[in-house]
């Protein structure tokens, strides 16, 4: 999986592409969120439109990112969930934990 970062209206937007799964994608996500925090960002949006699969390890990394950012007084939100990612968030009941938006524009406006 590859993750690129960009900035929009004071929000760091992360664009993961591919699989957020054990052994590769989960570590990449952790590193990307860590770099955003080190750079001083407190508003982080993960745009998941390019993610094809997310396993339990990937979900775990999203939770870790959420709590890390929150514990530092920041906000981490999700947008543009593909059906397969939405399904696993439903199964794990994390759909009630994360702040999730259909579109990036809506998510940006919410910060």
């Amino acid at each position: 999986m590859k993750i690129s970062a960009r900035h929009r209206e004071g929000v760091t937007v992360l664009d993961p592409k591919g699989k957020i799964t054990i052994g590769a994608g989960d570590v990449a996500l952790r590193e990307a969120v860590g770099e955003a925090l080190v750079a001083g960002s407190s508003k982080i949006l993960i745009n998941l439109r390019g993610v094809s699969t997310c396993d339990s390890s990937g979900i775990g990394e999203m939770v870790a990112a959420y709590t890390t950012v929150k514990n530092r007084g920041g906000e981490l939100k999700l947008c543009a969930l593909p059906a397969k990612v939405s399904d696993v968030l439903q199964i794990t009941q994390l759909i009630t934990v994360f702040e999730i938006y259909d579109s990036e524009d809506e998510a940006i406006a919410s910060f």
């Binding site: 054990i22 699969t53 396993d55 339990s56 979900i59 870790a64 696993v88 794990t92």
Partner: protein, 152 residues
């Protein structure tokens, strides 16, 4: 008489980077069953989770220990067995990831995914160690595609 379908066996050393290979191999072996994308995805993810558990919790990431995955189709069900060489575990001691206090745990959701995506899960613990997880899922075979051959 129904002729048994061939069984696919994939054996790997206990390294996380091998999980992708196992999932790809199992999904490829199911290709002839012409499963819908959703079913194929669910089986593939359940296999991924079972193998990850076997590597992490079963074999304690010891690369010298193997994980074996067997996959076959019987009676319009896909049957996947994942065997490790570990010490086994007590299902009763596995925390429920849906308990409110566990919702923000960063691990422990693999069995939840397996239960969600497959119809039946059984665990067998060998007398000499090792755990075998057997997962079954009912499927709908496309007409005349990979249907078991009936002998005269």
């Amino acid at each position: 008489m129904i002729v048994p379908q061939p069984e696919v066996l994939v054996a790997i050393s206990s390294k996380y980077e091998n999980i992708e290979f196992v999932q790809t191999a199992i999904e490829a072996s199911l290709f002839l069953l012409a499963l819908d994308e959703e079913t194929s995805f669910q089986i593939g993810l359940a296999v991924r989770e079972a193998v990850a558990n076997a590597i992490e919790h079963g074999n304690s990431e010891d690369a010298d220990k193997r994980v074996e995955v067997r996959c076959r189709c019987e009676n319009e069900r896909v049957v996947v067995q994942v065997r490790d060489e570990g010490e086994g575990f007590d299902l009763e001691n596995v925390p429920d990831p849906l308990e409110p206090n566990n919702l923000l745990n960063t691990s422990g959701r693999g069995i939840l995914f397996m239960n969600e995506f497959m119809d039946e899960i059984d665990y067998t613990f060998g007398a000499d160690g090792g755990t075998m997880v057997t997962m079954k899922k009912s499927i709908t075979l496309a007409p005349k595609v990979a249907r078991p051959i009936e002998e005269e």
